[in-house]
Point group: C2
DNA sequence: CCGCCGCCTAAGCGGCTGCTCAGCAACCGT
DNA sequence: ACGGTTGCTGAGCAGCCGCTTAGGCGGCGG
């Protein structure tokens, strides 16, 4: 009962306050870079601290190598406190994974709708997706690489979300090919390759590196445009009116 | 003592019989596709079976979720037998990781030297690297995604090998830019992106899929050539004399 | 002021973990 | 025929795992 309360709060933060969550994400992304605080409005304070601790621990050592004692002590609590807010260790991973995947789908959807031409839409999607994987690389690492530690039914739900992401990207590629803007021999394979490129950023990105998330997003957007055979130099990130290239 | 014997045998298989190993790899790649038998000439038979069992178990569930009892029973032995051939469970992972990374470096080196023009060299490298990740995806998954379960000193050694791979690829890109064949704004970043693309194949590839390893290698080689701004349609895999394009 | 309730801890339970060890069977050169 | 080496097993140890339980503390409505 008490455990269920914590879980539902997370759910509420993602469904009821969806609009706010988006706004908050934009704000964070602009200001760029405190710690991983994508979990702004999660349930009681303790539940959020536990979730954040779990994200860090899972990202560092992986789900199976992380102990509940480790998570609890990172959050400054006793091991038993974890079970007041979450039923099991796996549910912690599930919440992280679900919220992260929902955010992924939203990022791709919004970026994919933020422009008119397929090239601009593709560039915006890659730019935003890569930026998220770099900026929130701790969260993203857990989201992208720990999913097969999930229980069967949770896993199935997450896989469905991942398919959504793939479909969104494939849709953009199909539009580009149909419009004659892209030249792609294998749309499904290419969509997969683009996703690979973006996702893998979470694996190697470190905060102290030479490139900022924005720079990597920009670089990758360019690479992807060339991959699909589109002419170079797209517009700016948002409909900003500032053409510089060409 | 006894444990050390097993470890050394693996080492011998990679250093003394290096030339044979290469030949055998080529043979397997051509015939394409039994189970993961990249471990052809490892020490006594039992040590090889244990290694193969460990590869499968690590790939399925991850290093930390795999028990020594699981590995042993897959190899048809008692848990204690493992410690006759390997000192610890981690050493098993280390051997897998080391041999796999050495093979990666060799694949990239040979493919990178198998042609003259940077475009052909890049295409050959990507084609071979992707093919390995698809064909041997079980091994590759462990090699690429379980390395942070390694002990500190083993990890450092593996990271050095990974840097070698990156340097090889970067070298090809630099040659191409110097020759005016490639147009790349950020060589390091692009090299990383190309590696990402290849490595990530091990994450999503399944044996029953619609595409063969060769087709994926071909597709990805084309994508990468466009990424670096090179003209399309390169020559065949080995110096085969058959020009078809351009 | 009381009694209740949400949040937390100390202690600990059963079970599984990586790993060890004594012993044994099969094979070896002599 | 035989002592020794090699490869393996059955049993088991110490320690850590996820998770539970009983109880306490502080704030809040009445």
């Amino acid at each position: 009962m008490a455990a269920e309360t914590g879980a539902e709060s997370v759910e509420a933060a993602e469904s009821a306050d969806a609009a706010d969550a988006v706004k908050e994400t934009r704000g964070d992304a602009d200001g760029a870079g405190g710690p991983d605080d994508s979990w702004g409005e999660v349930a009681p304070d303790a539940a959020r601290r536990l979730l954040l601790a779990a994200v860090e621990a899972f990202a560092e050592r992986g789900f199976h190598a992380t102990t509940t004692r480790d998570i609890a002590s990172r959050a400054g609590m006793s091991p038993a406190a974890l079970y007041i807010h979450y039923r099991t260790k796996e549910e912690l991973l599930y919440q992280i994974s679900r919220v992260g995947h929902e955010r992924s789908v939203r990022i791709l959807t919004e970026a994919g709708n933020s422009a008119v031409t397929p090239a601009d839409r593709l560039a915006a999607a890659v730019r935003a997706f890569v930026r998220w994987h770099a900026e929130r690389h701790t969260t993203a690492r857990v989201v992208q690489y720990e999913l097969n530690a999930l229980a069967e039914e949770h896993y199935a739900e997450i896989v469905a979300l991942r398919r959504r992401s793939e479909e969104i990207l494939r849709g953009i590629l199909e539009d580009g090919v149909a419009a004659g803007d892209f030249t792609v021999p294998d749309i499904r394979g290419t969509a997969l390759a683009v996703l690979s490129l973006c996702i893998d950023v979470a694996r190697w990105f470190r905060s102290g590196g030479t490139r900022t998330p924005e720079e990597i997003g920009e670089l990758y957007a360019g690479l992807v445009l060339r991959m699909v055979g589109a002419p170079a130099a797209p517009a700016a990130e948002t409909a900003d009116g500032a053409d510089r290239g060409a």
